[in-house]
């Protein structure tokens, strides 16, 4: 039977992970968990919370990939949009798509810390950037279509 969560693991085991670095390494304690900024605090949570956090991160990564694909396609497919505005929209989308994984990682780390320490979840990171950026890119394409 798989042991998914190990929710009953004593929390004290985590900070000590660095201390016994020279101890014979078992599969369980083979490497200190990365990043320490996240895993050095708090207690092991219910696996479901960590998994949900991971899925949110992955949704951000897919959003980033979609933004990148949209930005490159906009320019590559030679759509009938005013070229300057089209390039501006494409660059904006690609910059957003490059920013998104960084924001996703930051949000993942902050949320994981909050889950481990039992605090309230932090406000979502980067929503404003994403929404404003996507709206601006859409507006640029729209204006480029009208003014063509």
């Amino acid at each position: 039977m798989p042991q998914p969560g190990r929710p009953d693991e004593p929390p004290a085991a985590r900070p000590a992970a660095h201390a016994d670095d020279r101890a014979p390494r078992t599969a369980e304690a083979s490497r200190p968990r990365f990043p320490a900024r996240v895993y050095a605090v708090g207690a092991e949570p219910d696996a479901r919370f960590s998994l949900a956090n991971e899925r949110t991160f992955l949704a951000w990564v897919r959003t980033a990939l979609a933004l990148l694909a949209g930005g490159v396609a906009l320019e590559a497919l030679d759509l009938p949009v005013l070229p300057g505005l089209r390039l501006a929209a494409a660059v904006l989308l690609v910059v957003l798509g490059t920013l998104a994984p960084a924001l996703a990682w930051w949000g993942w780390a902050r949320t994981e810390r909050a889950i481990r320490t039992g605090r309230a979840l932090p406000a979502p990171v980067g929503f404003a950037v994403l929404v404003v950026g996507a709206c601006a890119a859409g507006a640029l394409v729209l204006i480029g279509l009208v003014l063509r």
């Binding site: 039977m1 798989p2 042991q3 998914p4 969560g5 599969a27 369980e28 083979s30 490497r31 968990r33 990365f34 990043p35 996240v38 895993y39 219910d46 696996a47 479901r48 960590s50 998994l51 949900a52 991971e54 899925r55 991160f57 992955l58 949704a59 990564v61 897919r62 980033a64 990939l65 979609a66 990148l68 694909a69 930005g71 490159v72 320019e75 590559a76 497919l77 030679d78 390039l87 494409a90 660059v91 690609v94 910059v95 798509g97 490059t98 920013l99 998104a100 994984p101 960084a102 996703a104 990682w105 993942w108 994981e112």
Partner: protein
């Protein structure tokens, strides 16, 4: 399998989420290679190969993690960080492609 444990469902959803991400990565790599081919020639398919390899690795690693292999189950943060950095690099590459397309006025169609 402990099917009664709702955590197994959460694991399954997470695994499928990883799989969707890997598929997106693979598709993006092939599409990107098709575009880059216009700029740098057949060498662009190296990008497709790299992307497909990365997608396969992500899917495989996520599966081992899903099956709670203890040595891998702990690596969640490493996997997350690797994917974030990888996506960021894809973004930088996309920016380069974009600027190449914009300056050369290369069209795919």
């Amino acid at each position: 399998m402990s099917d009664a444990d709702p955590r197994s469902l959460a694991r399954e959803r997470t695994r499928l989420s990883w799989r969707r991400t890997a598929l997106g990565l693979a598709g993006g790599a092939v599409a990107g290679a098709r575009l880059l081919q216009e700029v740098v020639g057949p060498a662009a398919w190296l990008l497709a190969l790299a992307g497909l390899t990365a997608a396969l690795l992500v899917a495989r690693f996520a599966r081992r993690r899903h099956e709670a292999d203890p040595s891998v189950a702990q690596a969640g943060g490493r996997l997350v960080t690797t994917v974030a950095v990888g996506t960021l690099l894809v973004g930088v590459a996309a920016l380069v492609v974009l600027l190449a397309l914009a300056t050369d006025r290369v069209s795919v169609l």
